[in-house]
Subunit: 199 residues, 2 copies
């Protein structure tokens, strides 16, 4: 059986899965969802992922796997996308856990409200902008003098972080003030061969 990916191709978390499979040349079937239409709350879907979220992957043997970070480690483990050194590997995980806790809940969520739901910025919780901006500043500093987030080449951390960072403009964040971040986005896009983001 081929790997099956249940995902919404406008969702950064789902794109992470698409990108790693394309990059590693893993064949897969993509099943498209719209996160707004409630289908991820259906009984069939909840059997696949009781958390009711995309992405979820059905592996070649049919077993389901959810959480984009877990899917990245499943396919990326032992490849050039996982640093060999134990410290670099731990730093990769540090960025990946940080993204889900301190980056995605602000940058991706603000983008969701503005871009998907069309809400005006003044109706949004100001914390989304404050904490999203703090996350971008943290990345800008972390990329000072570095080409990649962890180790010396493209890793799972770059894939995990680039997804919503490159779309930050759709959430009302101006990447103009973050030159290290902008240069890194282009580097990761080139490394993955995904082209520039047309926001």
């Amino acid at each position: 059986m081929t790997v099956r990916v249940h995902g919404d191709s406008a969702s950064g978390n789902c794109l992470k899965v698409k990108w790693i499979l394309d990059h590693l040349g893993v064949p897969y079937e993509w099943l498209e969802y719209d996160v707004r239409d409630g289908r991820t709350r259906s009984e069939d879907f909840l059997r696949l992922n009781p958390a009711g979220q995309v992405p979820v992957v059905e592996l070649a043997d049919g077993r389901p796997l959810a959480q984009s970070g877990a899917v990245l480690t499943y396919f990326g483990d032992g490849t050039h996308l996982t640093p060999k050194g134990s410290y670099d590997r731990a730093k990769m995980f540090e960025w990946m856990f940080w993204e889900q806790y301190s980056h995605e809940p602000y940058i991706a969520v603000r983008r969701y409200h503005m871009f998907y739901l069309g809400k005006p910025p003044e109706e949004l919780d100001p914390k989304l902008f404050e904490r999203g901006s703090a996350a971008l500043a943290r990345m800008e500093a972390g990329l000072e003098g570095r080409a990649w987030l962890a180790g010396d080449s493209l890793s799972l951390a770059d894939i995990a972080l680039v997804a919503y960072t490159r779309m930050a403009g759709q959430g009302g964040f101006d990447l103009g003030g973050y030159p290290n971040v902008r240069a890194w986005i282009a580097r990761v896009e080139d490394g993955l061969g995904i082209g520039r983001f047309e926001g």
Copy 2:
């Protein structure tokens, strides 16, 4: 140099680090913080972890590592706490990423407001209770017929999830309705030799 842990011993995220080091017999020095006193925002601390959060570990060679999940993988990689099979290992990461995104922000945050800051429940965002309860229900179902979250023995996922789950009562969640979760908590406490939680 000995491993140094900067942590608040009332924080579940910091206790995860303490438990794995104790369990694996790694010697360390513990530097105690109170997350409410602002010291994690000092210049010295931010040099160690620009995210301004505990726990942060200084490894034996002095290099810093943040994010409890990353610290768990650094010390747990290649030990009996990481399942050998690639699917079980991925499921371990699935639970760990899920915890930081869908469990900690509700259960730990509600506990912080009630137990640390002494706020009455009616002043709190009702989403904290709704989503925290959904997280406990998800664990209850996930533990049906299973002794451990991933694989056939204690893993990093159990350490990551037990921290705030066992303290959920301090956040106003009643574990009485989750018998699988309660049995699993006792099992993990025994596996780690940390005794029962006195809430």
